[in-house]
């Protein structure tokens, strides 16, 4: 009996002490981590919808079958009492797996900004699509009928594809379409 007891007690003690120390570290860092996350979120929301200064989040997780994208949240942005627009984080699949695209739409119904979040796109190719050069091509769009062209199209609904990164360009366009679709159907 004794040779079972000692290892068990020692192991248990090691576990308890470890958990205790880790919990203490967690208590110290917890608030800071939460604050950082909140800050990062506020930052990208302010970037895509500069007019608003406070946001109200509703979790959605609504699938858009037409554009094969999932609208994750609606963040209603306002300044004082005035509603200024919405920010939609949208998940869609790119070249290297899922991408989260954050789309801001202002109160007139036009895209005010796009930011690309976590992604596994090819560095130097698909990842270039996250740069302002490309995402700014979406600004001002109103109808959920955007499409990617390779010929440098000029029509209002044509987005010039990033060379070599058609799949990523398509993914971003689908995400923006899904956000616009949601905005046009459900309003602010």
């Amino acid at each position: 009996m004794k040779e079972f007891l000692k290892p068990a007690i020692v192991l248990l003690a090691v576990c308890f002490v470890t958990v205790g120390i880790v919990s203490a570290v967690n208590d110290i860092t917890k608030d800071r981590i939460a604050a950082l996350e909140e800050e990062a979120k506020q930052e990208y929301m302010a970037k895509v919808l500069p007019a608003a200064d406070s946001f109200e989040t509703t979790v959605l997780n609504e699938k858009d079958a037409k554009f094969q994208a999932t609208v994750l949240e609606v963040n209603k942005g306002s300044k004082g009492q005035e509603v200024e627009g919405c920010v939609y984080p949208v998940k869609t699949s790119g070249y290297g797996g899922d991408i989260v695209v954050v789309v801001g739409i202002d109160k007139s119904g036009a895209v005010s900004g796009v930011v690309v979040g976590d992604n596994n796109e090819t560095p130097g190719v698909g990842r270039e699509a996250a740069k302002p050069d490309f995402v700014n091509r979406f600004i001002g769009a109103r109808e959920a009928n955007l499409k990617v062209t390779k010929k440098g199209g000029n029509a209002a609904n044509e987005i010039d594809a990033l060379s070599g990164a058609t799949v990523t360009s398509n993914a971003l366009t689908r995400a923006v379409n899904a956000a616009l679709n949601h905005y046009n159907e459900k309003g602010v």
Binding site: P7, A8, V10, L11, T18, V22, V25, N26
Partner: protein, 220 residues
């Protein structure tokens, strides 16, 4: 003098990557830039030194039978601490290393040093061993990361040196480039030091052989 020898051993003679070939997964996965390599190396060093110290302190208390689960718990504790610290103070690094931070737990280097050094040496020596191994690991990661970054992104520690029409060779940032650069660097070091790196049979992780004669068994 002995302390210096222990540290030097970790960096040169028993370099965890180029000599012992331990911890291949983080080595290949996070070395897309020198900075990531440095971050991963330092995070691993922290866990290595901490767990070496604690395990050496407890080496007479922990019964032999339960030493592996006890080591795993201690190592996992340190890994969680560094995970929380990175999240709170270095969020950018946390994001780029991502999944590979919790995976430090299963990095064979830490378990290997616990088993083969810390549980039979005094505390101070074990700490030095952790530092030496940690530096060896970090230096190797930074080396691999720099080569991949220079070739694949055309920059050093994030500073681009490309001008005009020069284009970096992207493939070196992608998985195949990781395997290839490590292979070539290892061969180069072998060439210089006139050695070879044989593949040990039971997987390169020594943990696999811990407490079992896996070497013998898996041959059967």
């Amino acid at each position: 003098m002995k302390g210096f020898k222990i540290i030097k051993n970790g960096i040169l003679n028993e370099n965890p990557i180029f000599r012992m070939v331990l911890g291949m997964c983080p080595t290949l996965a996070v070395t897309t830039s020198a900075e990531n390599g440095l971050g991963m190396g330092l995070a691993t060093t922290f866990c290595l030194v901490g767990s070496n110290m604690i395990i050496s302190l407890l080496r007479r208390i922990i019964p032999d039978k339960v030493r592996i689960p006890a080591y795993i718990t201690v190592i996992a504790g340190f890994v969680t601490i560094i995970e929380l610290i990175l999240k709170a103070f270095f969020p950018a690094l946390d994001e780029s290393l991502g999944l590979f931070i919790p995976l430090i737990v299963v990095n064979c280097i830490i378990m290997a040093r616990a088993e083969s050094f810390a549980n039979r040496n005094p505390v101070w020596d074990s700490i030095l061993d952790g530092i030496g191994m940690g530096i060896g690991f970090t230096v190797s990661l930074v080396l691999i990361g720099s080569v991949r970054e220079i070739l694949g992104a055309g920059s050093i520690f994030g500073k681009s040196f490309l001008t005009g029409e020069m284009k970096p060779i992207l493939i070196f940032l992608l998985p195949p480039g990781g395997f290839m650069i490590l292979g070539f660097l290892m061969a180069l070091i072998n060439k210089i030091t006139n050695r070879t790196t044989p593949i040990r049979h039971c997987g390169s992780c020594p943990m696999n052989c811990v407490g079992r004669s896996c070497e013998k068994e898996s041959v059967a």
